[in-house]
C-alpha cells in the first residue's frame, strides 16, 4: 500500500549538507500498522513527511496505492493527498473553527455539498466519541479530545492510508492508550493502512504489526513486531525494548541491599526474558531441580505478537550450594540472569 524505494533526503544548511534520510526503503502492506521508531533527530519526522510529499525527497520513489507520487503535478498531488490522512503531535486544528467546522474543512476543500458535509461530519464525530462537542472551539478541549477531532478530520475524505506523526507524544499515558485503541479500531474497522512514527516502544508494542528502527537517517532493522522483540539484532533496538520495561528495586530492598554475601543473606536476582528465552515454566523447574525458593519482588511481563518478554526481580533462598547452578540453568534457557546484590 505504501512503498518507499531508496529514499534519500538532504538539506542545505549554510555551507554544509545534512543527510536526513539515506537510502530508506520500506513496504507497508494493505491493512497493516507499521511503526518507525527512533530517537529525536533520527530522521523519522522527515521520513513520514516524505510519504505525502510535505517534504520532497532528494531522490528515490514513493508509491502510495499504486501511484508514484513524485511524478504527479501539484494539482494532482493535492487530490492524491486526500487519500492519505495525517495526524500530528500538536493536532494542528484550526482555532477559528468549531469542532464541527474543523471536521468539515477537508470536505469543503473537496467541494462536497453542504447537506452531505453535515451528515458525514456528525457520523465522524460519533465515531470518535465527540458528538456532543460539535459546537465547541478546540481551545476548550483536552489534548486527547483535540487528537480525536484531528482523527475525525483526517478520516473525512475516506483515506486509504493514515500517517501518524508522533500522534500520542503530547498526551498523558491514559489518553495515549485511548487514542491508540481508537487508531487500532479504525485500522481494523475501516481497513486503513497505518504508518506511524514514534519514540515510544509502548506505541509499537500495543498497535503495530511491523516495526522499523531508524537511526541517523537509516533503517537499521525491520521486521514483524514479534520477531524484533524476540531477537533484536541492534543495540539501539535492544535499548528501545528495555526502555519499555521499567523495573526498579523497591526502596525497602534498596536500603538493605549489600554488595557481598556475608554467609546468611539471600541473593537478589534480575531475570530478563526475551523472545529467545525458552517458553517453559523455568522458574518452578529450577525450584524443583535445585531445591531453591523464589520470592518475586517485582516483575513486568508483556506480550508483543507471539512473544512473551519482561524483567523480574526475585529473591533466592533455599540450598545455598545450588545458587550458582540455578543461575547457570536460567542462563542456559536464555533467561539473562544476574545477581544485583544480597538482602
Amino acid at each position: 500500500m505504501i512503498e518507499l524505494k531508496n529514499v534519500t533526503k538532504t538539506f542545505h544548511q549554510k555551507d554544509r549538507i545534512v543527510t536526513a534520510l539515506s537510502d530508506v526503503s520500506l513496504r507497508v502492506p494493505q491493512g497493516k500498522v507499521f511503526g518507525v521508531i527512533g530517537t529525536s533527530g533520527a530522521g523519522k519526522s522527515t521520513l513520514i513527511r516524505c510519504v505525502n510529499l510535505l517534504e520532497r525527497p532528494t531522490s528515490g520513489e514513493i508509491i502510495v496505492d499504486g501511484k508514484a507520487l513524485m511524478q504527479l503535478s501539484n494539482a494532482e498531488l493535492a487530490i492524491e493527498r486526500r487519500q492519505i490522512g495525517m495526524i500530528f503531535q500538536h493536532f494542528n486544528l484550526l482555532s477559528s473553527r468549531t469542532v464541527f467546522e474543523n471536521v468539515a474543512f477537508p470536505l469543503e476543500l473537496a467541494g462536497t455539498p453542504k447537506a452531505e458535509i453535515k451528515t458525514r461530519v456528525l457520523e465522524l464525530l460519533q465515531l470518535v466519541g465527540l458528538a456532543e462537542k460539535a459546537n465547541d472551539y478546540p481551545a476548550s478541549l483536552s489534548g486527547g479530545q483535540k487528537q480525536r477531532v484531528a482523527i475525525a478530520r483526517t478520516l473525512a475524505n475516506n483515506p486509504k492510508v493514515l500517517l501518524c506523526d508522533e500522534a500520542t507524544s503530547a498526551l498523558d499515558p491514559a489518553t495515549t492508550r485511548s487514542i491508540l485503541n481508537l487508531l487500532k479500531d479504525i485500522n481494523k474497522r475501516l481497513n486503513i493502512t497505518v504508518l506511524l512514527i514514534t519514540h515510544q516502544m509502548e506505541v509499537v508494542k500495543s498497535i503495530c504489526d511491523e516495526v522499523a528502527v531508524i537511526s541517523h537517517g537509516k533503517l537499521i532493522e525491520q521486521g514483524s513486531v514479534g520477531d524484533i522483540f524476540a531477537d533484536p539484532k541492534q543495540e539501539l533496538t535492544r535499548e528501545f525494548i528495555s526502555s519499555s520495561l521499567h523495573i526498579e528495586i523497591p526502596s525497602v530492598y534498596q536500603e538493605r541491599l549489600q554488595n557481598n554475601d556475608n554467609g546468611n543473606l539471600n541473593p537478589l536476582l534480575k531475570l530478563e526474558m526475551t523472545g529467545k528465552s525458552v517458553n517453559e515454566p523455568v522458574i518452578s523447574e529450577v525450584s524443583r531441580l535445585f531445591d531453591t525458593d523464589f520470592k518475586i519482588v517485582s516483575a513486568q511481563m508483556d506480550q508483543a505478537g507471539e512473544v512473551n518478554f519482561g524483567v523480574m526481580l526475585i529473591e533466592l533462598s533455599g540450598k545455598r550450594e545450588n545458587y550458582d547452578a540455578a543461575i547457570q540453568y536460567f542462563n542456559s534457557k536464555h533467561i539473562k540472569t544476574e545477581i544485583i546484590g544480597y538482602v
Partner: protein, 217 residues
C-alpha cells in the same frame, strides 16, 4: 464656542473620518495582497520565490522610508492624473492609501508569520491548494491579529491625515493648522486635539472589542 466654530469642527471631523477610513480601505486593498505575497514567497513557504520576495521587500522598504509629508508633495503629479486635483479630501486619499499600503503589508506579513506553521502543513496534508490555504486557513486564523493591524493602521492614518491638512488636504488637521496655529486660536487648536484623541480612543476600543470577538484561541 461659536456656531461657526462648531460647524468647522464637525466638518473637519467628518473629513478626517472619511480620509482615515477610505484610505484605510484602499490601503488594505493594496497592502493585504502584498503582505500575503510577502509571506507566501518567503523561504520554506508554499510559494517560495526568493527573487520576487526580494523585489517586493525592497519596494515596501523604499515606500516606508519616504516621510509622509514628502510623499504627498512627491506624488502630486500622480494624484492630479488620478483625481484631477491635488487639493482637498479626495486628493489626500491617494498619498494616504499609498503611504499606508506598505505599512499594512508588513503588518499582514507579521500576522501570518505568527501563526503556527503546523496549520499550513495540516492543510496541505488534507489536500488544500495554495489559494484554499490563504482564504480558508491563513486569513481566518490570522483574523484577530489582522483586526489589530487595522486599528494600528487607522490610528496612524488619523495622524497622517492631520499632517496632510497642513498642505491643504482638509480635515481636522487643516482646521487646527489654519485657525489654531496660524490664527493663534487656542480654543480651536485644543478642540481639534481633543477630537483627535477621542477618535483614536474610539478606533482602538472598537478594534480591541472586534479582535477579541473573533479570537477563539
Amino acid at each position: 464656542m461659536s456656531d461657526s466654530l462648531i460647524d468647522l469642527l464637525l466638518k473637519g471631523t467628518w473629513e478626517t473620518i472619511v480620509m482615515t477610513f477610505v484610505s484605510g480601505f484602499f490601503g488594505f486593498l493594496l497592502g493585504l495582497p502584498t503582505g500575503i505575497l510577502l509571506f507566501l514567497t518567503r523561504k520554506n513557504q508554499i510559494l517560495e520565490q526568493p527573487v520576487l520576495n526580494r523585489i517586493l521587500s525592497v519596494l515596501v522598504n523604499v515606500f516606508r522610508s519616504i516621510p509622509f509629508i514628502i510623499l504627498i508633495v512627491w506624488m502630486i503629479p500622480f494624484t492630479r492624473a488620478l483625481v484631477g486635483t491635488s487639493i482637498g479630501v479626495s486628493a489626500a486619499l491617494v498619498p494616504l492609501s499609498i503611504g499606508a499600503a506598505p505599512f499594512i503589508a508588513r503588518l499582514v506579513e507579521n500576522s501570518l508569520l505568527s501563526l503556527p506553521s503546523g496549520l499550513i502543513e495540516a492543510a496541505r496534508a488534507l489536500g488544500a491548494t495554495p489559494f484554499q490555504i490563504v482564504y480558508k486557513v491563513l486569513l481566518p486564523e490570522a483574523l484577530p491579529s489582522l483586526i489589530n493591524a487595522a486599528s494600528i493602521t487607522l490610528i496612524t492614518l488619523v495622524g497622517y491625515s492631520a499632517m496632510g491638512g497642513a498642505v491643504g488636504a482638509g480635515g481636522l488637521g487643516q482646521v487646527g493648522y489654519q485657525y489654531g496655529y496660524i490664527g493663534y486660536d487656542a480654543v480651536t487648536m485644543n478642540s481639534v486635539l481633543g477630537l483627535l484623541v477621542v477618535l483614536v480612543f474610539l478606533i482602538q476600543f472598537a478594534g480591541d472589542k472586534l479582535s477579541k470577538r473573533f479570537d477563539h484561541r
